[in-house]
């Protein structure tokens, strides 16, 4: 694997985090320019060589300068002190600097935007446009926010809460900062959570972590996987396995869907080496589905027309692939079974269990606790799974400003559930 996980490097994908909590995945083509829509655009070459995680501010003509974080006002260390000293007092005493600090440490999670700005605001859109055009300064966004506060008639009469909301909204609209992150499995999942939550079946980052740990995913393992997220789980496993080991990917279509791997920058050979797809028909009726290809001698191949030769090579490769994965399933002894799918697990599980090795983990994800409940009941007389239980994990983020510390007021309710058990080998002649 030649891709860099630490340094922003050309010809890789990267995640762009925007102040508006927006996420974008881009390919960093050397010499190219990337547009962030209303936030402006930047030259790829200007960000190369920095560490992943670096934030930048867009200057004029697609130039950027590195900044410490997405939030303004922290470069000079000023913000930190203000934050430390800030205390919740009666309404109206909150300073602008204080509010700015508020944003700075909360770039990620605050979703409580309420629309209070447009009604009372005295700056016209034209004035804002002029401000935007007015200069090459890196402080354009900050300047605009200050002007808006100054021009906002009712600002000091608002509650702290609505002041914060108001400023935050304005900041998100005008600040031209972004962070460039390595696309790890957490970033990939966050991206899909924001863009297409149903695709990842409501899976949260913490539940993904739980699946990987309960699944004992590590370099060199041989896992059986069902992944209906389009490859996010597959990517997370590959990331932890670091190129060593095998993932047999059971799927229900003609071809497996792991479209999310297109952002992985993994070479195709690595994917082919680690990921072995098999569909459920092949899995469950291996004898029928093995391909019994008539092997031709070199002479016979040479005798074929060139197009037929190519066709033969393709068929040969395909039959070898399918037969080898079928052999692998028939050999069994997988190091774990991980399922992140909407399939009916009580009917699926008995078909899969024989292939899993003794003492290896069974990890089943569902959006709905009720489905795992049914699955657990279906296992109650199956002595092949030891101590199955349903687990839930939920992370609760805080507004992390000293003096105003509290859990975020709202958060998304999704996350999913995990059934974890251990494959064991019951003995017939043992009675309790």
């Amino acid at each position: 694997m030649v891709k860099s996980k630490t340094i922003i490097t050309a010809n890789q994908h990267a995640l762009i985090r925007l102040p508006s909590e927006g996420l974008k995945i881009v390919e960093l083509r050397s010499g190219g320019t990337i547009s962030l829509g209303k936030f402006g655009s930047f030259d790829v070459d200007a960000i190369l060589g920095y560490a992943f995680g670096q934030s930048f501010e867009i200057l004029d003509r697609s130039n950027v300068k590195p900044v410490k974080s997405l939030a303004p006002g922290l470069e000079d260390g000023e913000g930190a002190e203000e934050v430390a000293e800030a205390e919740p007092e009666t309404e109206g005493e909150l300073s602008k600097a204080d509010l700015t600090s508020f944003f700075s440490t909360n770039a990620e999670n605050n979703q409580q935007i309420i629309d209070i700005g447009s009604k009372v605001q005295s700056l016209t859109n034209q004035e804002i446009d002029e401000l935007k055009k007015s200069g090459a300064s890196s402080n354009i966004g900050q300047q605009i926010i200050e002007k808006i506060i100054a021009g906002h008639g009712g600002f000091d009469k608002k509650t702290i809460f609505s002041q914060q909301k108001y400023l935050r909204r304005k900041q998100q609209k005008f600040l031209r900062r972004f962070t460039v992150e390595y696309i790890g499995s957490s970033q990939l999942l966050q991206y899909y959570i924001e863009k297409d939550l149903p695709r990842v079946l409501d899976l949260s980052e913490e539940t993904l972590g739980l699946i990987l740990n309960y699944g004992n995913v590590r370099p060199g393992g041989k896992y059986l996987l069902v992944d209906e997220t389009g490859g996010v789980i597959l990517y997370a496993m590959m990331e932890r396995m670091n190129g060593e080991g095998t993932i047999v990917l059971a799927h229900e279509n003609e071809h497996p869907n792991h479209i999310a791997l297109r952002y992985s920058d993994y070479p195709e050979e690595l994917i082919n080496q680690m990921v072995k797809p098999i569909n459920w028909l092949q899995f469950l009726e291996p004898e029928n589905e093995k391909i019994d290809l008539e092997i031709l001698s070199q002479e016979e191949i040479d005798a074929l027309k060139p197009t037929k030769q190519v066709q033969y090579e393709k068929r040969l490769k395909r039959s070898q692939d399918i037969n080898s994965v079928i052999d692998m399933v028939q050999a069994g002894n997988f190091d774990g079974f991980i399922s992140v799918s909407t399939l009916h697990l009580p009917s699926l599980l008995p078909e899969v269990l024989p292939a899993i090795g003794g003492s290896r983990p069974i990890v089943l994800y569902s959006q709905f606790k009720e489905l795992l409940l049914e699955t657990q009941h279906s296992l109650s007389n199956d002595k092949r799974v030891l101590a199955p239980s349903i687990f839930e994990t939920r992370v609760r983020p805080y507004q992390t400003i000293i003096g105003r510390l509290h859990p975020m007021m709202t958060m998304r309710g999704f996350g999913g559930y995990v059934l974890w058990g251990t494959r064991v080998l019951p003995q017939e002649n043992i009675t309790a």
């Binding site: 430390a84 440490t105 990987l212 590590r218 060199g220 932890r240 409940l373 839930e392 992390t400």
Partner: protein, 355 residues
Amino acid sequence: MSFFKFKDYIEEGDLVLAFISRGTIKPITVTKGALLNTRYGHYEHDKMIGLKYGEQMGGEKGYGFIHLLHPTPEMWTLSLPHRTQIVYTPDSSYIMQRLGVTSGSRIIEAGTGSASFSHSFARAIGLDGRLFTYEFHEPRYLEAKKELEGHGLVNTHITHRDVCNDGFEIEVPANFGTEVNGDVVFLDLPSPWTAIPHLPKVISKVRQVGICCFSPCIEQVAKTVEALQQNGWTNIEMVEVAGRRWEARKDMVRDIKDVVKRLKDIQSRKNQGIENRRHAKVIGEKRDHSEVLPEPSESSKVQNTGKGFNPFGKGIRIREGDEQFQWRNVTKIETEVKSHTSYLTFAYMLPERVE
């Protein structure tokens, strides 16, 4: 035995987790001639040798059984006696996922504590990664050192050190690189703010470094956040992780029609009794149940035969899930939930200072 790779058959000297019950998992080192004594039977180590991992094993005296499990960090954590020092799987798995711990990561951990998280780190970073763990308390250090070596965690190096006063710099073993050069930091210390200033000397200078501070009290979080800010860490965010476990249970369906039938049965028995005791009725009460009156037979009291009614086991103990009755699948949360483990404060450090 290895935390890096499964093996299939139990050999002498292996660390085996004897799963006795959900709450009782006993780590044993398979030793010729030794005996495992439990409340649920006795088990000879000799007979474990050659069995498959995961196999069920019957008790010596014909009763009881255990399962012989291969160690994993998660099972190992469950096998430890309950101490607050343990970082449980919902926390540890999230910390690793959020900080991007993968094969090859270089971890700084202080303190080692029960070494439960160390096992999880060591598994995830694989033989390419390195874990530097520090423990202040000498008996705990000695115990952990023995355990880490005994478990073959060759990617892990433990140091006896008060990192808050003395920092993290150590002489690095030959196969651990030239310096610590950590890219992920985990601090489970009473006062992480005193350790944070020592970190720059041991963390990577070429990549972003992530940190997680694990503190039970909110006041510790406040001090930690200040220290992180003052030492140049950014994107500071504190979170809590709530892990819950649910059991599958069955709850009897108690239909209102059965309630009515049962009341009629009671009434009819009572009237019968009154009729039997008295020959003449002085004052009559009009009743008309004849159409729907159930057969008050003994069998209908305990069975929902479809003809009679379900008496809901009044006065009778019914096994949960008894097929003679109708049930609903329900989930029940564990009796005692871990409502708080610690606050997790995350932050990041970039290699270059920008003007």
